[in-house]
């Protein structure tokens, strides 16, 4: 799953990364830094896995006030 700082929330880490890329000569309009959380689990099917991971996101893995998340199922 991908966890991102919500749009509109100041992301100083992203700003620092964007400015470092600028110093390297890359033309970057905006940079935001989030995180990837890889989980391995058994589930009956993809829908069940997604439902379970979404619950994990709501309860622990993301703070809905400041972060948005996206679940990607592989395998």
């Amino acid at each position: 799953m991908l966890v991102r700082p919500k749009a509109g929330i100041l992301d100083p880490q992203g700003e620092a990364v964007g400015s470092a890329l600028g110093h390297l000569g890359f033309d970057v309009r905006d940079a935001r830094v989030g995180k990837v959380i890889d989980l391995e689990l058994e589930a009956a099917d993809e829908a069940a896995a997604r439902a379970e991971v979404e619950q994990m996101c709501e309860r622990l893995l993301a703070n809905p006030l400041i972060e948005s998340y996206e679940v990607e199922i592989v395998g």
Partner: protein, 226 residues
Amino acid sequence: MASPQPRVGVITYPGSQDDRDALWAIAALDGEAVPVWHEARELPDLDAVVVPGGFSYGDHLRCGAIARFSPATAAVCEFAAAGGLVLGICNGFQILCEAGLLPGALLRNASLRFVCRDVSVRVERDDLPFTRRCSAGQTLVLPVKHGDGRYLPPPDLDPGQVVLRYLDNPNGSVEDIAGVCNEAGNVLGLMPHPEHAVDALLGSDDGALLLASLVDAARDRVLAAI
């Protein structure tokens, strides 16, 4: 009759650092300081609780995100729901926000630097159990030491819940907010450390105003129950 000593609990999580100073400060201000281990499913008989600073559970994932699920935090939530007085300092503030006892969230400092220095804060409310020895508009000098202290309020925060504001914002907090309370006013969280500022020898004793207010309010509850 001697005035009763209220019992003020201080939670210790793995990674708490300021629990000892909080216990020391409570005792110095004539409260009975009661250490509470994070595995406690029920709190002992207490008149107030302090959730102290530090780096509970290593601050992994997000500050306070893991501590929120510890047994003692669940007990603190029950205590607060019953009207009990709860003070969260620094990491304790982060834990109370994650637990939903306080509105908002604390993010990485805007400077991306850990900040460790004295700051000045203005008292916005003096009608709370935590601020009754202060007066509104008063400036307190208190130390801060944190990397994740940038307060982000929810869009619908009642401005009346802002209890302390920085005069020299050290972390980029929205609207200079240094401390907020819940709607009922029995839970307060703040990033500065009153427990490190209870003796002028250590630079400031302004923190004693907040902690002595809490001890007073806790004592009133003991007297009301007699």
